[in-house]
């Protein structure tokens, strides 16, 4: 059996999750506290990947990132980046595809934290950044964990976007979900079964871990 698609899947999910976390924290902060009048528009845009068929997203990415079109050509000419049929293209598409799964838990965690925590820190002369990193984020650890796991799991599970923008290049863009499809097409049910079973077990283990941690199951073992 070829392990490459599985390794690629988890590499993609890890890179995507880490990058997503970096951009989602400021976005969630803005969503939780901004009083901007057009906020619903931004909220709707961020939530789009929840409802849109992944193939639609993938199709538009393909058009946008193609070197034959203005944006893709600009990326290619200025930065030498080609986002179609490449790993970096997969990362960018996955980030947008999984964005709501990471932003939403963090922003609802922040909105649910008592406002007095923030205000108390401000009155002690602490900046917004200090307050965010030393008071707010440590207090929404379970939301952060949920965000990380959902972002990771959702990226592992994607198919349509990846197929549209990445194609099916072994070692580059052929992730596990596509490999499964490929093997089924070629009537190699045994191989398809290996990939599927491994994904099944790993995703179950990840989700179980989240619910155990958030349910306080491990607390009894330390302290």
């Amino acid at each position: 059996m070829n392990w490459e698609p599985l390794v690629l899947t988890f590499k993609l999910a890890t890179v995507t999750t880490v990058l997503l976390l970096v951009i989602s924290i400021p976005m969630a902060y803005w969503l939780a506290y901004s009083k901007f009048r057009l906020k619903p528009v931004v909220e709707a845009l961020i939530s789009m990947p929840l409802v849109l068929p992944p193939t639609v997203l993938g199709f538009y990415f393909l058009l946008a990132f193609s070197p034959n079109n203005a944006f893709g050509a600009w990326l290619n000419d200025w930065f030498g980046i080609r986002l179609v049929f490449s790993f970096s293209g997969l990362v960018v598409a996955s980030m947008i595809y999984s964005l709501p799964f990471v932003v939403h838990p963090i922003s609802s965690g922040l909105s649910a934290a008592p406002p007095s925590l923030r205000e108390a820190a401000y009155l002690m002369g602490k900046s917004r950044i200090t307050t965010l990193f030393r008071i707010l984020l440590p207090n929404i650890r379970s939301s952060l964990l949920t965000a990380i796991i959902l972002g990771f799991a959702h990226t592992v599970g994607e198919f349509g976007v990846v197929l549209m923008i990445g194609g099916n290049i072994p070692g580059k863009t052929k992730v596990a979900s596509i490999a499964i499809y490929d093997e089924v097409e070629a009537m190699n049910y045994d191989n398809a079964n290996y990939y599927s079973a491994i994904l099944f077990v790993i995703t179950f283990a990840i989700l179980l871990l989240v619910y155990l941690v958030n349910g306080g199951f491990f607390k009894r073992f330390w302290k």
Partner: protein, 290 residues
């Protein structure tokens, strides 16, 4: 000296309300902000702290302008150096007692103040505990100590003792008085407990529907006909019993129940739960050495 002359429209439970204030508070005063819920007491504290923008008017503290709608001045809460005790205490749940206090330290501030405040508020044995494991009174002491770490000139308290039982209340009132004097604070406390006001405050600001309707010393405010009684206590009516021609009123003063004989016209408007002043002219009190 705090001068606050502001207007702000608020949405109260009973509909829109205009908060219209002109308050002056001298340095070192202990002020009680008194009034029904929804009168705008908490909003006054929040405007002073910079957590709520008044919209119109001017706030000046010790000769420095903190807020001025005309000249677009509005100091951020970070720049106002105010100690604030929230009604829900706002302790940071992930930090233990000592770390809660240490977080409040300013850049280059001597951390010795943390030790001092922990000792002063009697938290030495609790300093490594997390806030969730503390009782209401203990949390309150942590919140008070934490508010004092940055050595503020002004201490704002938003109904700090409302969730406590009588015994803890009285203990914390002592703590409050002590730190008010020790750190030479100007203290403003939101409360609607008259007993507390008598014990702590030297001036009362009475708010109603966003307006100051009365200010003065607690005794003047709450005893309508000025008494020259030498003994004077405030208490709560527990029960009223009818005897032959008189009434016996049981009044709780601090922790003691006192029985007082009353005439019909005295108890006419009284019911159990009312706050009363018990005064006596005391021509011949007995002194016994103990």
């Amino acid at each position: 000296m705090i001068r606050m002359n502001v207007e702000k429209s608020l949405r109260a439970a009973s509909g829109p309300m205009l908060l219209d204030l002109d308050i002056q508070i001298g340095q070192g005063q202990f002020i009680a902000l008194y009034g029904e819920s929804g009168a705008g007491k908490t909003s006054v504290l929040r405007m002073l702290a910079g957590l709520l923008s008044p919209g119109k008017g001017k706030i000046e503290v010790h000769g420095k302008v903190w807020y001025d709608s005309e000249h677009k001045v509005n100091l951020r809460p970070q720049q106002r150096k105010i100690g604030f005790v929230f009604q829900d205490y706002a302790l940071f749940p992930h930090l233990n007692v000592r770390k809660n206090l240490e977080f409040a330290l300013q850049k280059k501030q001597d951390p010795q103040i943390v030790n001092e405040l922990i000792a002063v508020t009697g938290l030495t044995n609790l300093q490594n505990e997390l806030p969730d494991t503390l009782s209401g009174g203990q949390k309150q002491r942590v919140a008070l100590a934490r508010a004092l770490v940055q050595k503020p000139d002004i201490l704002l308290l938003d109904e700090p003792l409302s969730a406590l039982d009588t015994r803890n209340r009285s203990k914390l009132q002592d703590h409050l008085l002590m730190v008010h004097k020790k750190y030479e604070l100007t203290t403003i406390m939101v409360t609607h407990d008259i007993g507390e006001i008598h014990k702590l405050a030297n001036q009362v600001i009475h708010l109603e529907h966003g307006k100051v309707i009365n200010t003065g010393a607690p005794l003047e405010m709450f005893s309508k006909n000025k008494l020259s009684g030498k003994f004077q206590f405030t208490g709560e009516v527990l029960s009223i019993e009818k005897q032959e021609v008189i009434y016996l009123v049981n009044v709780l003063i601090n922790h003691d129940i006192v029985r007082i004989i009353a005439q019909h016209d005295e108890i006419e408007h009284l019911k159990p739960g009312d706050k009363v002043i018990v005064a006596s002219k005391a021509f011949n009190p007995i002194l016994i050495k103990i």
